[in-house]
Assembly symmetry: C2
């Protein structure tokens, strides 16, 4: 907060939200089974091309509400609660030739069923975080997708479905499929299971998918986040 008593004398920028809406295609998806995807839209005004959806912040609106409005108004989705992750701030004063505009780029992860009907196209994101297919996205939106997917993939390295793409309970096979889709790689079943199982709560139920029934697990409140992180740390003096 600046040491001034006259706020009115500062020129104020327009503030927009740009949103990277990330999702995982279901394994039975026709075109892109089991891959990570992001929603892009074709712009109807100049500059023409493909870009992430966005929207100007309304008066006294929070970022959370602005992101919810992108989903509701720009994408035509039913309202739902979001916990947007800040990715970066666009501050190039010339990025919009009409006026000084800041953009707060955020990312949100949603299950495919919740975004399949959205206005726009869901396109695959490759291992390097680049959007598949044609020309690059407008503005710096390719970088947004790269940073958002890199952060997403890092979250999925060590912990079971941190963004809640699965429901409250799931089998280890279902969990592994989601992680493989997010990470874009096959994972070893045995080591993956051993790493995840002690972060989950085991239920008495089982569920079959064409073979031996798998034990159903649920997110456990007492998961030990320190466990998986410990290996990262420098050697403390004891």
């Amino acid at each position: 907060v600046a040491p001034t008593s006259d706020l009115a004398r500062y020129p104020r920028p327009n503030v927009a939200i740009d949103l990277a809406l990330l999702t995982v295609m279901p394994s039975m998806h026709a075109v892109l089974p089991g891959t990570l995807g992001v929603l892009i839209q074709r712009r109807t005004e100049v500059p023409h091309g493909w870009a992430l959806p966005g929207r100007f912040l309304r008066k006294r609106q929070t970022v959370r509400d602005g992101v919810a409005d992108v989903l509701r108004v720009e994408l035509g989705l039913p309202p739902f609660d979001v916990a947007p992750q800040l990715v970066r701030v666009f501050d190039d004063p010339d990025r919009d030739e009409r006026a000084w505009t800041l953009s707060l780029a955020h990312a949100v992860t949603r299950r495919y069923e919740d975004v399949a009907e959205a206005r726009g196209d869901i396109v695959a994101v490759d291992l390097r975080g680049n959007v598949a297919g044609g020309q690059p996205l407008l503005f710096d939106h390719d970088m947004i997708v790269r940073k958002a997917t890199a952060a997403l993939r890092q979250r999925y390295e060590l912990h079971p479905d941190p963004d809640g793409l699965l429901g409250q309970d799931f089998t280890l096979g279902e969990l592994r499929s989601v992680h493989e889709a997010v990470l874009g790689e096959r994972l070893r079943r045995d080591t993956f299971n051993r790493r995840m199982v002690d972060q989950l709560g085991r239920t008495a139920r089982a569920r079959s998918a064409g073979g031996r029934p798998a034990i159903v697990y649920e997110r456990s409140a007492d998961a030990d986040p320190a466990h998986a992180v410990r290996r990262l740390q420098l050697p403390r003096q004891t």
Copy 2:
């Protein structure tokens, strides 16, 4: 970027920068030797108390320039290049009762010699990221410090002095001292050395600090960032 051609009709917020300036006290500092510190200032206007320095963004100014202005104008430091790290966005519409104001909280790390003369007090930050001493900081500034120091500490877990608190070359002992100050813990010499040495370039020089001269290392362009990260990852199918 929103699908509208009339930017003028959107109300615009004031946009401020709040800055967590982090540093490490030298080992010969009188009051706080070898600890992590953050610069705070006593506010001259209401609400009174201690807070991070900040400043409103000027017309068509980038965040980088706004942060540089905080250092130059608000702290009275000579101009220098900064690479501010975005920490969070404050968007509570009622956070400033005078007008709708957004604040972009950033963090910058500088060596102590470069900030010792700054206007304000440098206070210690404890292991949990809390500011030492008296009452909490105003607004949500304690949370800024917590997030900024957590990110800083994470950067210092695996890689040698990523924020450049040391010069271009240094011994492993000097490096370890900086890491111990940032992390607030003693580190084992043998394991620390082995972890860092293959991310550094060995020079022919040596430097003594009252004992056997230590080999001088320098940052190596070909440091392998994947090496230290590999242990974090899920088991890939080969």
